[in-house]
Structure formats: structure tokens, C-alpha cells
Symmetry: C2
Subunit: 337 residues, 2 copies
DNA sequence: GCGACGTATGACACCGGTTGACATATCGGG
DNA sequence: CCCGATATGTCAACCGGTGTCATACGTCGC
């Protein structure tokens, strides 16, 4: 009963050849309907599930793909994983979610090992592994298809899905300008993420277009985490002539700014507007809820998976972002209205 | 160069028998140090990584375990995954993180399929899959070892790791009482998590011990998410005689209470104390930062994995929790001090 | 009526390792 | 000097599927 059934057991039970069972398993065209049904009944009777290992070993495809990541934002990764899963499930493909450490000297070997050990058919790279030379090189040498989610470099070389970070930052900055803000602080992201530069670029472009002079001291470095948002926010608010709005390059840092402002007793959003980026769960759980850029993470992951599974030529797909208005923005504060 | 090397290639290159390479691969005792080194060099030269599929197929162990979950809290799952990974990595074991939907009628089959397809050696169940009868039954029939993280039922049947939810809730409630609070609101968790009841129990026990009458209308239902915290908070604050402190059964709901309080213009924490549970990243990113119970998720996951890999008898391990004091608690508010 | 062709099924080697039984060789110790 | 522990090799079988090739049966066109 609980002994593992194999394909021969099924074949015997159905009174057919092993190969025929295999054909049914793989949806081979030349199988009569009656035969298919008979075999399927036998499989169900025996509680048969084909061994992935055996299929890998003998076949040419493994029906497995790997998602490689080194991102410590739980929300980001859970969204990415969810998108990949969804698509894999629909295609009957197994997903191996595999964290690596790009800081390790042997990342290349880790990836090489993963691929050759597991025989995965393809790889999805999520930021910032997307721009890790060692990994890209290893994958290239292995001659395995891969798709990158939000890569920062070498767009042309491989398939990729991404959003327009510069335009999104431009949109948000413009939105703040339209609200009446003229002094807008900006908190940059970690320099290892290429998107950081794009977002800064968009901020500057919007300023330029509006004829507002770029003030370098209004731009603070950040690390994409809460604490760096806290200190960057403090430094901006300590300025002799502080900004009326602060645009952080992600939600975590925006939350840090919010916390700093709260602890100074500022009325929010009246006395300080704070904008985020990414639209993680955080954006809704802080107060006031963050106006932020919705980055379509699930869709990015799903699209990447779709492209990978679909095979075919190198494809690039830009997905649209959205500016989500919540409660953290207001017109600039004036002492006496 | 990029052609896949197999064990025979390695044997040839090292000038030894295939069997010897296999011995090295499996850490067999009777292998001299020099031989081990020679074989390892050959493996490195050839970029050889043993095919997991082949090892599974021929060997008795797969060196793979699966983590099965159906939890939509990103932070919780990322911690659990991290703990499992850490331990697996140390033991050279591959981890398959596998989401399932316990609401589906065929969860049992999903799990059965997963296990027989992948040949995993063992399973880690995380809440709330830990208490899904269909899954437990399937696993039992398959006769595969598994460990449960924070199960709510049938503690004795399988190995498990957990914390003392009741005691933790008791600790927090007592802490609030010691601060001077007498009217303490409580927001329950989702009823599918057994921990919800334990936490409520702890709250009541602390009240009893302090001689404070339990008031049923101070207990609100919740779903473990932000929104339910929001509405529960609103209902508590709308009470004719609202509580001076609110203890939510997790951080997300506590964040909801905070948001509701903020939007009513309450000074926090002076006019309302809010306590959370879990110590997720959220607890630090909201303002005021939540005083909460630190649930040792990484350690729970690591310990569970350790137990699973170690094999052996049924083991139960209780891990300690910690009350983390941050900024969301204050003595009860009085209009005129 | 015959060869070509599409459809449906079967026989068998093989993927890349592990396992086990057995052979052999070296080395220390009693 | 023999015994046992250590160290390595040979060989065949096997794990559970798939690829390749062969076979058998219609049916279609000429």
C-alpha cells in the first residue's frame, strides 16, 4: 500500500508497455483516448507519482527552474517568489528557490553547483544577483537560459523584465512639485542596486523640467533600510532650511523618515510630506500611510517565469508602475496660512 | 569544457576506480587523506558536481528536505526559511521550500505528490500546515519523518519545536498591569492558528492573577492582519469607557491599532499603550516602535531542521521568548496628572 | 492492390550515480 | 607469522524513468 509504485507497476496493472505509460505521462500525441484513460486509472489506483529524479536522469528536460536571490527584504522576496510559483504551478514546473550570497568569493561555483547538481532547465535572477558578474559568467559558461528581474546592467545580453525606475521617480517628484513643494529632499538607495541611480536620475530630471535648481545637500545617502532612513531624515530635518517634502528611494527608508518626524513631534503630513517607493506592505502599516510607487513585483516575477518557460529569443519587457496616493503627502507647510 | 563531467570522468582523471570517487563523495571512512585530496582535485579540475537525480535514484537518501508552508506573512516565512536554510547549508542538504494551500481539498495529494516525486528524506511543517489533518494523514501514510514548527494539536505524535504562547501573552499582560493598566483591550488572532487561543488564555490568566475582572467586550476578534487591527482598534476606542492599553496578538494588528489611534490624533504612547506580538520587522518600522514579544522564529526553524536531520526519536523542544521593550507603552493616561 | 504515411504500441539500451559482494594489498600488533 | 583493520579495485545489478528504433495496423492516393 504505502510502497512506492513505479512506472512498471502501473504498466503491469494497466496491462500495457512501460513506454506507453511514459507517453501518457508526457502527454505524447499518439495515444488513444481509451488507452490514456486506462493508464490514468491505473496510476490513480496505485497512487503513482513519477520520480522527478528518474525523469531528469533519463530525459532531456528536468521540468525544474531555479530562482536565485540574495535579497533581504522579506516582502520583496515573498512577492517575487509568489509570482514565480504561480506561473510554475500553472505549467507543472517545480521551482527551486535558492538564496546565495553574492558577497562570497565563490558565488560562481555555488551557482554552477546548483545548476549541474539539480539539472534545472533555466534560471530566474532577481536583483541584485542580476548584476553579479561571477554569476552571469557562470551561467553563460553553462549555456543555460536565464531571465533577469530588474537588472541594472547589460540589458541587451539576456532576457529581462523591469520597470522604468527613472520615470517612476520622475512621476513622484513631479507629483510633489505639483503639490507646491520646491525644496524636496531625496534619500538614495544602496549603490549596489542599479535602480538607485535611476531613481536619483528621475528625481533630478523632474526638478530640471520644473526649473527648480538641484541642491546636492538635499540628497542623502541611504542603504534601503529603516535605520538609514532614520539618520538621513534626521540630517535633512536638521538643515538650517529643511525641505518641505522628503522622497525616499524605498518604503523602508521612508518609514525611517516618518519615525524621525514623529519623534520630533511634527504633525504629519501637514508639516512634512514623505514619499516612498516600492509599495511594500510597510507602506500601508505605517502612519500616515505612504504615498508611494507601486512596483509590480508579482507581475515582474510572473512575466520573467513565463518568458523563461516559453523559451524563444531574448525578450525584454517593461512593466508599468503606478503612483499610489495614500496619506503621507500634503501641500507644503507655511507657518501662517 | 562545458560538457557535463560524470563520476567516470573524475575517476579516469584521478586514475582511480569509480567506486573510490563514490567513497570520497559520500565521506566513506576507509579513504586515505592523500586519496581524498587527489580525487577532490580531479573533481575541481573538471568542475564536477554529482547529479542529485542520479544519487537519489540509486541511493537510499536524497539529501533533500522540504519545508511546507501556507503562511502569508512575508516576514514570518522569510525568517523560517532563513533558519532552515542556515541549517541545511551547514549539513549540505538541499531545501525545497514548497507553498501549499491548506484550503484546497487535495492538499493531501499535493503533499503526497511532492514527497514521492522529489524523494525528500523529511519534511518540516510550519504553521498552520502543522494542524492540517489531510497533510498529517498523508505524511503518516508515507511513513516519512517530519517535524512541526509551533503546532497547535497532538503534540505527542511527532517531533516539534515551539514557544510558550500562553506564557508570553501572560508576560506581556503582566507587564502592562505593572505599568498601572487595569483596562486592557485584547485583539485575538485568526482561529485557524492554535496559538491564538493560547495567547488569549495567557492574557486571561495574567488578569486573573492580578485580580482584575475579565471583561469580554474588551476582547475583539482579529485576523492577524493590519486591517483587522484597524477595525478592532476602532471598536475598542469607540467604547464608552475605552481601555488604556491594547494588546494585539500580533504586530500587524498592533500596527493597525497604532494607525487608528494616530488618525484620531491621540498622543502615543501617552494616551494609549499598544503592545504587539512576534517582533517582526514591522515592530521597528512603525511609530512608536512596538513593545512586543520576540518569537524566536529563526531558532525555531533551525532547531526543527536540526532535529529532522539528526533523526532519532520524537523530540519536543520549547524555545524561550523575550519581551522586547520599545516605545509603544506608557503608564495609563489621566486627564489631570 | 501496393507503397507511403500517419497512428498506436512495444522492446531495450541508457542516463549517472550507489550498493553489495568479493578480491586484493598494505600495515601493525600480538 | 598470522590476524585484523585499513585502503582500494572489479564487477554487476539497480534506481525509475525516457530516447531510439522497430513493429503493426489502418487508410489514402494512384
Amino acid at each position: 500500500m504505502s510502497e512506492r509504485a513505479n512506472i512498471r507497476d502501473v504498466a503491469a496493472r494497466a496491462g500495457v508497455a512501460v513506454k506507453t505509460v511514459s507517453r501518457v505521462l508526457n502527454g505524447h500525441p499518439y495515444v488513444s483516448a481509451s488507452m490514456r484513460e486506462r493508464v490514468e486509472r491505473a496510476m490513480a489506483d496505485l497512487g503513482f507519482y513519477p520520480s522527478v529524479a528518474a525523469r531528469i536522469l533519463s530525459g532531456s528536460k528536468s521540468n525544474q527552474i531555479a530562482l536565485i536571490y540574495d535579497n533581504h527584504s522579506p516582502y520583496y522576496m515573498s512577492q517575487i517568489q509568489a509570482g514565480c510559483w504561480e506561473c510554475c504551478k500553472a505549467h507543472g514546473i517545480r521551482l527551486l528557490a535558492q538564496p546565495v550570497a553574492i558577497a562570497d568569493a565563490d558565488v560562481g561555483d555555488q551557482v554552477r553547483g546548483l545548476v549541474t547538481e539539480t539539472h534545472v532547465d533555466g534560471i530566474i535572477l532577481s536583483s541584485p544577483v542580476t548584476d553579479c558578474a561571477a554569476v552571469l559568467h557562470a551561467l553563460d559558461a553553462l549555456d543555460i537560459p536565464f531571465v533577469r528581474i530588474s537588472p541594472g546592467t547589460n540589458h541587451a545580453l539576456t532576457s529581462s523584465v523591469f520597470m522604468d525606475d527613472a520615470q517612476a521617480a520622475d512621476d513622484m517628484t513631479t507629483h510633489l512639485i505639483n503639490l507646491g513643494h520646491r525644496r524636496i529632499g531625496f534619500i538614495k538607495g544602496h549603490s549596489s542596486h542599479m535602480a538607485s541611480d535611476d531613481r536619483l536620475f528621475g528625481y533630478r530630471r523632474a526638478l530640471d523640467r520644473a526649473g527648480i535648481a538641484f541642491e546636492p545637500h538635499l540628497v542623502m545617502p541611504g542603504e534601503f533600510d529603516f535605520d538609514s532612513g532614520l539618520v538621513a531624515g534626521a540630517r535633512l530635518l536638521d538643515l538650517p532650511h529643511p525641505p518641505s517634502a522628503i522622497f525616499a528611494a524605498n518604503d523602508d527608508m521612508a518609514a525611517g523618515v516618518l519615525a524621525e518626524a514623529h519623534s520630533r513631534g511634527l504633525a504629519l503630513p501637514e508639516q512634512l510630506s514623505v514619499a516612498g517607493f516600492d509599495d511594500t506592505t510597510l507602506a500601508r502599516t505605517v502612519w500616515p500611510a505612504l504615498t508611494t510607487i507601486h512596483q509590480p513585483m508579482i507581475e515582474l516575477a510572473r512575466t520573467a517565469t513565463e518568458i523563461l518557460i516559453g523559451g524563444g529569443d531574448i525578450t525584454h519587457r517593461r512593466l508599468p508602475h503606478t503612483l499610489i496616493e495614500r496619506a503621507s503627502l500634503a501641500p507644503p507647510f507655511r507657518m501662517i496660512p
